[in-house]
Symmetry: C2
């Protein structure tokens, strides 16, 4: 009998996060202050982030201890299982071994609380009483609602109106954990009022929601800070708990991955699984390929430019050196809402620039078909974001079959799709579209980046 | 540091189910053939159920081996965690230790696949190619869709129209696993056509959906059988994997429960956690209280009569000796749809009659308030059904505090509430109602039972 799951005992849960910056062939260029164009300082960052998070953002230490209070909450669902995808292997009739790390077991249903919990903790420790954030599809907002509740923090989530209307379950989840969730644009902020003055029926955007969340945080600097769910170094740092666990679990399974795969929006679940394995590649000389999978409709890694850009659409964040389609790029409305982001975090972008990782773009229909095959062979209905990793894993397994090679594949299942079932309905009804931006469309938003510097 | 979770290694997952009948002080009276009123035979049962399931229904063997093929699918999510509810304990400031078994970790989100998987397996082994079933809120239909897929079976689910319209996510889940889900009444069956002829706008009922599912199975006896998700002995047998695991996990936690709690609809999650602990009570003399928790709006155990009754509303099933409100009783539309059942399975009813277990009825508002406290302290949003067990556990913990006793409480968290969030919205909005049937309402449906015999 092949073992199905590899679960670390609670006592073996890793107790430190891994900072990729310590071992990169070339460190990423610094963030720049958007106004002065000088390297961003602790002081710049601490205006919007908790101090310890600002410190982690700029840190070059290899390991950072996970506070005991954070570990306690992690233990609600961590260590998360590593699973051998025996059903999928059988269906593909492949000689490849396929493993996945199941981050969908968290109460929120995704990897997002891995960073939401420490962000809430450090803010609480600093005496902050209120957090603001934005959310698109709702995974990050749910995670911060969950995390904030554990430390008695008030959490305000600005949710893009189109999602607020379409995804009531995510909003209800935030309310159940005691957070407030507002349909953005609101009349609470100047940014929101200005947007509504221009268009009373404005459906919102992630950029606008960030503007509202940051503005509301800046207004109460004694009590309030802003939190972000991806892109920045400290967020990816927290996510490395995933890869650190996976390394120990692959040892339990007596296997080593030849290829490690994650889907990519801003980079949080990808960095989480990839960075610890990249350490093995850089420091132990292991021959591990690492693949980031993006939607063909939002191809920042495969077709974007490596430039300084804003992390948000309004220029509130520092300027980040990244592979980007330009912060004004508007990806089509694919179901994988968490991957509709114009750029990739600085560390990931530098790694791609140095050819230490690979990138692949997959069309929506292929990803959702991979998702349904996974649901029917492994039982778990994956989030539309995670189906991108599955699709790339299937491509690798099929290649292994053609070559007759016994490749070992590991991918990160970033979340379950239990409340994203509408995407599956659209696939089954034959209504899914594959959008691929033209070169002209990409050039239009990328070209404007030159004016920023 | 207190340990949070107790997870059995996969290799220690129990490999046999426990048959409560073997150790009961008094065996339940036999089922009766609804037409002849003679004890039901294998031949009677095998018309609608797979033979092995009919055999298990009548079995008195203490243990039944779990087939390896079933164990393999169980391993997708089992062993399920036993969790120490440290957050809830702290919020209640109680000296009691509270543990819960988390059955919400299955791909379906509840305990239901514990029986759906073996039911699909035995039907497949017998050469059956198609299964029919009914579903109310959708948990059981989803579980059979999930299970049937693993054995290549066609699954047809008749879903009560009111739920079909209100709960699209459950239907989409069934479709994603490849099952067909029909809004009952349909025009496919005579029962459905007759109902639609009487009322073209008929919103359906569980009784009618059962009638449709059984009729469609009987029509193709060479290829098709019917499956049921609760009430019957073989279903409760399969669910004992829960309690068998919990016994081993409580040993890991170095604790023994003073009280074991489960919510009750037909009895499947309650029996699953309770029966193995009742074995310890009956065979090892352990002083364990076992408490079944029902909604105050459907109080079969606390206010029903102990009589022979039909398991369904149309009289398709054998007559079952049970605590019942009468098969025509219409409970109010509480959010815990899985508990809106008029009777309790024969074994559970006999145990209550013999005072080997206790029963308690809890109003809806109290259960949902318990659910929100649990979500905010333990992180997991519980299903409305499971909040009944939580409410009773809280009552026990508060009593322990008043008495200053160090009671150990174990309850079964039968499922998560991620796609039942509407119930929480109603609670937060102050819109929940507590319905309690009058004595006259109960008498009206119970009195008619006399005419059945």
């Amino acid at each position: 009998m092949k073992r199905k799951k590899f679960i670390l005992p609670e006592g073996q849960m890793p107790t430190r996060w891994y900072n990729m910056v310590a071992d990169m062939p070339h460190a990423p260029r610094p963030y720049l202050n958007a106004r002065t164009h000088k390297p961003t300082t602790m002081a710049d960052l601490s205006i919007i982030l908790a101090e310890e998070l600002a410190r982690q953002e700029l840190s070059t230490e290899r390991y950072i201890e996970i506070p005991e209070e954070v570990q306690q909450i992690y233990r609600i669902w961590r260590p998360a299982p590593l699973v051998r995808a025996t059903g999928l292997e059988k269906a593909l009739d492949t000689p490849a071994k396929i493993f996945f790390k199941n981050e969908g077991v968290s109460p929120v249903g995704s990897h997002k609380p891995n960073s939401a919990v420490p962000q809430a903790y450090y803010n609480h420790k600093q005496g902050i009483r209120r957090l603001t954030t934005e959310t698109g599809a709702g995974q990050w907002g749910s995670a911060l609602a969950f995390a904030g509740r554990h430390f008695g923090l008030d959490v305000e989530v600005y949710m893009v109106r189109v999602s607020y209307d379409q995804k009531p379950y995510r909003r209800l989840m935030m309310n159940t954990w005691g957070a407030q969730c507002f349909s953005s644009p609101t009349t609470k902020s100047e940014a929101g009022r200005a947007a509504l003055a221009r268009d009373p029926h404005c459906m919102g955007s992630l950029g606008l929601a960030i503007s509202e969340a940051v503005e509301m945080a800046l207004r109460e600097p004694d009590t309030t800070r802003y939190c972000l769910g991806s892109v920045m170094n400290h967020v990816l740092l927290h996510q490395t708990i995933t890869g650190e666990e996976a390394i120990l679990q692959m040892e339990m399974a007596d296997a080593e991955p030849d290829v490690v795969i994650g889907c990519i929006g801003g980079g949080s679940n990808f960095g989480g699984i990839a960075f610890p394995f990249l350490r093995k590649k850089f420091c132990e000389g292991k021959a591990i390929r690492v693949v980031a999978v993006e939607p063909e409709s939002c191809p920042k890694l495969t077709r974007g430019h490596f430039e300084y850009d804003y992390g948000d659409m309004s220029g509130y964040t520092p300027m980040i050196p990244m592979y980007t389609l330009g912060h004004e790029f508007q990806p089509s409305a694919i179901h994988a809402g968490g991957l509709r982001y114009h750029g990739a975090g600085a560390i990931i972008s530098q790694l791609l620039h140095d050819q230490a990782i690979e990138a692949v773009a997959v069309p929506q229909t292929e990803t959702m078909q991979a998702g349904i095959l996974f649901a029917r062979t492994e039982g778990i209905i994956p989030a539309p974001e995670s189906t991108h990793a599955i699709a790339a894993a299937i491509r690798e397994a099929e290649q292994a079959k053609r070559e007759g090679s016994e490749k070992t594949i590991l991918f990160n299942l970033s979340g379950h799709g239990t409340i994203d079932l509408y995407a599956y309905e659209q696939l089954l009804a034959g209504n899914l579209r594959d959008d691929r931006p033209t070169d002209e469309e990409i050039a239009r938003t990328v070209e404007r980046l030159e004016k920023l510097m």
